[in-house]
Amino acid sequence: MSCLGLDRLYRYLDRDLKPEDAAEVEVHLAGCPRCREEVELRRTLDQAASSLPDLEVPADFAETVMGRIIRAEVPRKSWLAILSIGLGTLGISLGTLILASGQSAMGLLQGFGRDSLRSLQAVFLLVLKFFKLILLAVKVLPELAETGLHGLSRISASFPAGILAFSAVLMLILISTCVLGFRRSFLVRNDIGEDA
């Protein structure tokens, strides 16, 4: 057997070789002082590396972290309290309103139903008008576009071709920079945020 390669040597030290391969290595080591010394050197370095000193953790570390967690949770809980108080107040106000109106709850509900129907009718009319406006815009737009294009071609005719080409390239660079920049920041953010 030839001298040990690094991969085999480290696998031998990690006890990662099959028993027959490990036995073969041991036979080789018994007769090769050079490889024996290399194995011993790396074994010593492994032992030293595996017993590096701990970095000192402050005694109150866990309390400090828990303190930060509690501080972060309290504002969230106070928002929940505000929301509960708000909803509670709304409920009490509605109850008081029903009592003060002197009407039965059913009567109030019927009134509310009638009002809702009227509101729905108004919204329906509004949507109809909106569609009419869109139809009008569709009729007018082609004329507007034609006028715009005509104006643009007159402007471009008054500039030399070089300036126009330069402006087009500049616009292209600007747009691609924006798109690429957005893509990059989006990808980086996603990558970092993964798993945590």
Partner: protein, 187 residues
């Protein structure tokens, strides 16, 4: 109540004491890892705090089929990578092959001077390894620290980094050889 899964379940039910126990269990290994990755203890303490804060916030998404320690180290690794990116620290791509492997590789024969292992006492050797670690490419240093300082298995490291186990082993061997060379250069 010492089992990690039980501690996680108790934390999710609102038991803060359970999460404090998780912190106490993992503060030392995480600080040892982060400290050797960022090089400054104070900064490492801040990052270790951030790991636990993120873990607490993301605990509902933790999947119990994974080890809690692996999950925490993954969060820490993401924080460290983020730090390297901001600092623009170059990292060696982990898919780059080892210079040479297999039985055909000839070991570096020690010359006349005695090897580092014989020259230094164990304590001095540890201090020198710690200094040599700082000179390793960040990606290799991370694997070396996980293997030797945190005692993670190759399988756990492969799971954290999403790499094949063979690649991880190869990189750890590469890191060890680089450290040995740095130590030889110093003597």
């Amino acid at each position: 109540m010492n089992d990690d899964q039980e501690l996680v379940a108790a934390t999710l039910k609102g038991n803060r004491k359970a999460f404090e126990m998780i912190i106490r269990k993992y503060q030392q290994p995480l600080l040892n890892y982060i400290g050797r990755m960022v090089g400054e203890r104070e900064l490492a303490l801040d990052f270790t705090q951030d790991v636990f804060l993120r873990a607490y916030a993301c605990l509902p998404s933790y999947r119990p089929q994974f080890k809690l320690s692996t999950w925490l180290f993954k969060i820490a690794s993401n924080l460290v990578i983020d730090f390297w990116r901001k600092k623009k620290i170059p990292t060696l791509p982990l898919d780059q092959p080892l210079e040479e492997d297999g039985d055909g590789f000839c070991l570096q024969i020690p010359d006349d001077k005695p090897s580092v292992a014989k020259t230094f006492e164990l304590g001095e050797l540890r201090a020198r390894i710690d200094r040599a670690l700082a000179r390793l490419p960040a990606a290799l240093r991370e694997l070396f620290v996980w293997r030797h300082v945190n005692g993670l298995s190759y399988e756990e490291m492969a799971e954290i980094k999403g790499l094949p186990v063979g690649t991880v082993k190869n990189k750890v061997f590469q890191a060890k050889e680089l450290i040995r060379r740095h130590l030889e250069e110093e003597t």
